[in-house]
């Protein structure tokens, strides 16, 4: 079993394994471009839908229903179905109204629409993806949410071009890379059927290229957040270590009320830069979520 390889990293293996076998709670994020959290909750109350607000992020509602798509507030674009822990990286990136923000692996758009909301739908948000079908899903999700500060491009994030934009660099970049998705096992139990070490190593090469390009298009003093939904250190700390060696950037600590574990500095005989400890690992049993990895980098200082 694939998950056994992480036994040395996890403090409570039995709880970790048990959580991975439970289905995920149904969670929505309130789209604050169209409604306040209070109004969205009132709409759910009026329909008799039960929910619980996440303590660490009051915009997230854990619903009793499994089909949030069939509610009035969802129809109005007030709600967006989003796995709870995947709402972390946009919060860590902390984009401000009026800024220039890039989301190079954006589709289908849960994090993009969250970034737009955090920016109050102002400034310029660029969403890129390499897959046209997924881009079309992103576009309809963004339109349903009423996002208007978004420019969408189609291309390989490893050679993202600034040419279509009248700017020299972005203030912030959210690098949520394609990964082996081990952390999504609670949503897609088949995820690990096709797992192979060669896939992990191959995709880590893609991740290095995407993160490197992201650092290059970020202004001095700007912020890059790197995230995956996998436990594999090859795709997490290993990628950070590689980029720290090559680009002018450093890892910085960040605060969150989610229960997390630090990044690991040793894995399978490899040693990584000590600063990867600032990254956060999130295992499914810690907060009853999917698995996740998130790191914050400051560029050029």
């Amino acid at each position: 079993m694939v998950l056994e390889r992480y036994d040395p990293l996890v403090d409570d293996v039995a709880a970790f394994r048990a959580a991975c076998e439970r289905p995920l709670p149904s969670v929505v994020r309130v789209n604050t471009i169209k409604a306040t959290v209070e109004r969205a909750m009132r709409a759910l109350d009026d329909e008799g839908e039960g929910y619980e607000q996440a303590e660490w992020n009051p915009e997230l509602l854990r619903l009793d229903t499994r089909s949030p798509g069939n509610t009035w507030p969802y129809y109005h674009g007030w709600l967006y179905g989003q796995e709870e822990v995947s709402a972390l990286p946009a919060r860590v990136l902390d984009p401000q109204p009026g800024e220039r923000v890039l989301d190079p692996c954006a589709a289908p758009g849960s994090k993009t629409t969250q970034l737009a909301a955090l920016m109050d739908d102002t400034g310029t948000l660029v969403a890129n993806d390499s897959n046209l079908g997924r881009l079309s899903a992103l576009r309809s999700n963004a339109e349903r949410c009423g996002v208007t500060n978004l420019a969408v491009t189609h291309g390989d994030a490893r050679n993202f071009s600034l040419k279509p934009f009248d700017m020299e660099a972005f203030d912030r970049v959210l690098v949520d890379v394609p990964c082996s998705c081990e952390g999504t096992i609670r949503k897609n139990p088949d995820t690990l059927d096709e797992w192979s070490l060669s896939h992990v190593e191959g995709i880590a090469g893609v991740q290095r290229g995407i993160l490197e390009r992201a650092v290059q298009v970020t202004r001095e003093g700007g912020t890059v957040v790197y995230s995956t939904c996998t436990f594999a250190p090859e795709e997490n700390e290993g990628v950070l270590d590689w980029v720290l060696d090559r680009e002018d950037c450093r890892l910085v600590p960040f605060e969150t009320n989610l229960e997390t574990r630090p990044g690991v500095t040793e894995w399978n005989g490899e040693t990584y830069d000590e600063s990867v400890e600032h990254a956060r690992r999130i295992y499914p049993h810690l907060n009853d979520t999917g698995g996740f990895f998130c790191a914050k980098l400051e560029v050029g200082t």
């Binding site: 169209k34 409604a35 109004r39 969205a40 009132r42 709409a43 009026d46 329909e47 798509g69 069939n70 509610t71 009035w72 507030p73 129809y75 109005h76 674009g77 739908d121 102002t122 400034g123 310029t124 948000l125 881009l135 576009r139 309809s140 963004a142 339109e143 349903r144 009423g146 996002v147 208007t148 500060n149 978004l150 420019a151 969408v152 491009t153 189609h154 279509p164 934009f165 009248d166 700017m167």
Partner: protein, 178 residues
């Protein structure tokens, strides 16, 4: 600046895959058939009572024949990227037609040609059904609203003709709700 009919060659054809910013006024027009920003603002105000100030932070662009997009950010003109802001309006046809998403986002400022439905009529409208509705205003495209969580909110676009309100909700957005 020239008129398309004077044949002096200054007026270009629309380029389908490129985002071009709308000219400020008809006098600034360089592409045949393209509406001006002024015309778009006037249309929202005349048809729905939406004040031009609502769109103060947005630029308008055309990509595809007659598809007008509203964008709050900044890009150079022209641009060949995939999408820019949201689709707002269909022009280059006899009656301009707002999009569902455009009406959901900006239609809350509408004061004219707004039809308000009760819960049962709203449910049928969102399911894509046409229905008989009492309406003594203009025929044509209307902003359709209902009450949710203590206030009116736009559901989308209806086409009112011959005593009937025809739901214009796109198939992918229709829902059967309680």
């Amino acid at each position: 600046m020239s008129d398309p009919s004077d044949g002096d060659g200054d007026i270009r054809e629309n380029v389908g895959h490129q985002f071009d910013r709308l000219p400020e006024t008809a006098d600034d027009r360089e592409v045949e058939g393209r509406p001006s920003r002024r015309a778009v603002l006037d249309w929202w105000e005349e048809r729905f009572g939406v004040p031009p100030a609502v769109f103060e932070d947005h630029t308008f662009w055309e990509k595809g024949s007659g598809k007008v997009w509203a964008f709050a950010g900044s890009v150079p003109h022209p641009s060949t990227i995939e999408a820019l802001g949201m689709t707002l309006l269909r022009v280059r046809q006899e009656h301009w037609k707002p999009t569902t998403d455009g009406v959901q986002r900006f239609g809350r400022h509408a004061t004219r040609n707004v039809v308000h439905l009760d819960r049962e009529a709203a449910r049928r409208f969102v399911a894509g059904e046409d229905q008989d509705v009492e309406w003594d205003g203009d025929w044509g495209y209307l902003v359709v609203t209902h009450d949710i969580a203590g206030g009116a909110e736009p559901l989308g676009v209806g086409l009112y003709l011959h005593g009937e309100l025809r739901s214009q909700i796109p198939k992918g957005r229709r829902r059967v709700l309680d």
